[in-house]
Amino acid sequence: MTLQDWLKLGGIAIVVVGLALRLRTTIVVVAAAFATGLAAGLPLFSGDGRTGLIDMLGKAFADNRLVTLFIITLPAIGLAEKHGLQIRAGEFIRKLRAATAGRLQITYQLFRIVHGVIGIRLNGHPSFVRPLVYPMSIGAAAKQMRAKNPESLPSEVSESIKAAAAAGENYGNFYGQNLSPVQAGVLLVYGTMLGLGVEIRLWDLVIYTTPIVAFSVLIAAVQFLRLDRRIRSRCAKS
């Protein structure tokens, strides 16, 4: 590797060190982009038929606005929460005797896999997890621990439920989306392989991803049921 190659990897080093030191992530990311971009000899602004670093930054930022679209749902969700959404979600789940925090995550993950099969790709954290799944899980845990209300749950329990609810969304989304031949991931694989001159069939991709989807459900179920066990043992202690 040449010296220039090593300098290009400087961006990765900046990210690793910056995140480890818990510096402001936005600054770390931009610093890394400048370090790698300048090491590769990119100009700051476009000209002479070459794309500049700042132009690249602006274009990618504008092109990826769709990942930040969820902001449009915040007023509706915030309003509903002020008017008792999370309380009702918790009360609703307390009525279901079989509901536990862990089983809810399993159910939600399966629900997200169905989204994948239908061909819908969305990030469910703002539209499902925060307004519904999380308060329901807290409600279920409160029932499991016979706590009077969700606020009286020990914080380590509510924190691990938050993490589990966010993870369940990712598990269902990442692996479920490949079960449809119209999803971006499968199409990317198909297009890339054909571009490299490797003959494959679109449906084979869907078929061969099913074992991994099955494993993802099983491994996650183990994790979520262990969460239930932790909640139960916490309950026995107190």
Binding site: K8, L9, G11, I12, T26, V29, A32, T36, G37, A39, S46, I54, D55, M56, L57, G58, K59, A62, R65, V67, T68, I72, T73, L74, P75, A76, I77, G78, L79, A80, K82, H83, G84, I87, R88, G119, L122, N123, R130, L132, S160, K162, A163, A165, A166, A167, N170, V186, T192, L196, V198, I200, R201, D204, L205, Y208, T209, I212, S216, Q223
Partner: protein, 320 residues
């Protein structure tokens, strides 16, 4: 006529709506006397709103400079939340009793509109994923109107409620877009080829198991660096999977398909482990107000390592 319908139900229309919401958030922040950094924080969200409104029209270098200003504001610690106190919890409890399960209706509008728009796009033979995004945008607006009607709250109150969540999440909200930019720069600089060639230099070419291991490891590693398995996939497949595994053994189409899709999901294990995938790991932690910014990643780590190992074993067994 169809032109008008298409313009209304386009991504740009949804971006404009989101931009308008952000501008309102910014104005509310600037007018908030109890906000410790109301001008700088307001400016930050105003700039993001402007990028949402005009991002498709402005020259890219202008957007790039606006992004740098936003990052500078955040870097100086000027993007904070309001110190205004939350409503008494008693209010929400009373409202929960008054409204009952009807409070679910506005929130359910969001997924219903998402599905409906995706369905319409599907019937018209358009991109379903884009339809879902358009539905998400209009669902958010419909949910807002339904919520105001149901609760009798004003638009101002609803916007304040939305602004509170947005400010609590803070600058984390722009990380996914920022990381996408970093990914583009990494790609332009050829960082992927460097990683692929580094992996190849270490691994002996005649050992299939080590090659499969290197393929899955390179994919996960590059995804951890880029925060995006879709960006890593072409690089790893071009650098490792096709030239070093599939081509030498003359793999048939079924084996190739299996190895290719397993390579992609080996990358998903990387996505679960990295703060660079901010929209999946860091933004949700902020959205749920987790105390530990890395709490979601820590929970996912054992899952990710287990399923990644399964990828290696499965691919090796099926190729052999």
């Amino acid at each position: 006529m169809t032109k008008i319908v298409e313009a209304v139900f386009s991504l740009d229309a949804v971006y404009a709506l989101t931009g308008a919401v952000l501008v309102v958030f910014a104005v509310l922040t600037i007018r908030d006397r109890e906000h410790p950094r109301r001008l700088a924080t307001g400016l930050f969200w105003l700039l993001l709103g402007a990028i949402f409104l005009f991002g498709s029209l402005m020259p890219y270098w202008v957007t790039g400079l606006l992004v740098l200003v936003m990052v500078a504001l955040d870097g100086a610690g000027r993007v904070t939340r309001s110190s205004k106190t939350e409503d008494a919890p008693q209010f929400a409890a009373n409202e929960a009793r008054r409204l009952g399960d009807r409070i679910f209706l506005p929130v359910l509008f969001i997924p219903i509109a998402t599905f409906a728009a995706a369905g319409v796009f599907l019937m018209l033979g358009r991109d379903v994923g884009r339809g879902a995004l358009v539905g998400l945008g209009f669902g958010g607006a419909a949910a807002l109107l339904a919520g105001m009607r149901l609760t009798g709250a004003s638009l101002h109150r609803a916007m304040q409620a939305g602004r509170r969540i947005n400010e609590t999440m803070g600058s984390v909200n722009i990380l996914p877009q920022l990381l996408a930019s970093l990914g583009v720069v990494f790609t332009a600089a050829g960082v992927g080829q460097l990683i692929a060639s580094g992996v190849v230099a270490i691994v002996p070419a005649d050992n299939l198991f080590l090659m499969v291991l290197a393929n899955c490891f390179g994919m996960a590693l590059f995804t951890i660096v880029m925060g995006n398995s879709f960006a890593a996939f072409p690089v790893i497949v071009t650098g490792v999977l096709v030239p070093l595994i599939l081509k030498p053994m003359g793999a048939d189409p079924a084996t190739s398909a299996m190895a290719a899709i397993l390579t992609l999901t080996a990358g998903s294990s990387g996505t679960l482990m990295t703060p660079m995938a901010a929209n999946f790991n860091i933004v949700p932690a902020a959205l749920l107000d987790l105390r530990d910014q890395y709490g979601v990643i820590k929970f996912q780590l054992p899952f990710a390592l287990t399923i990644w190992s399964l990828h290696v074993v499965l691919m090796w067994l099926l190729i052999r």
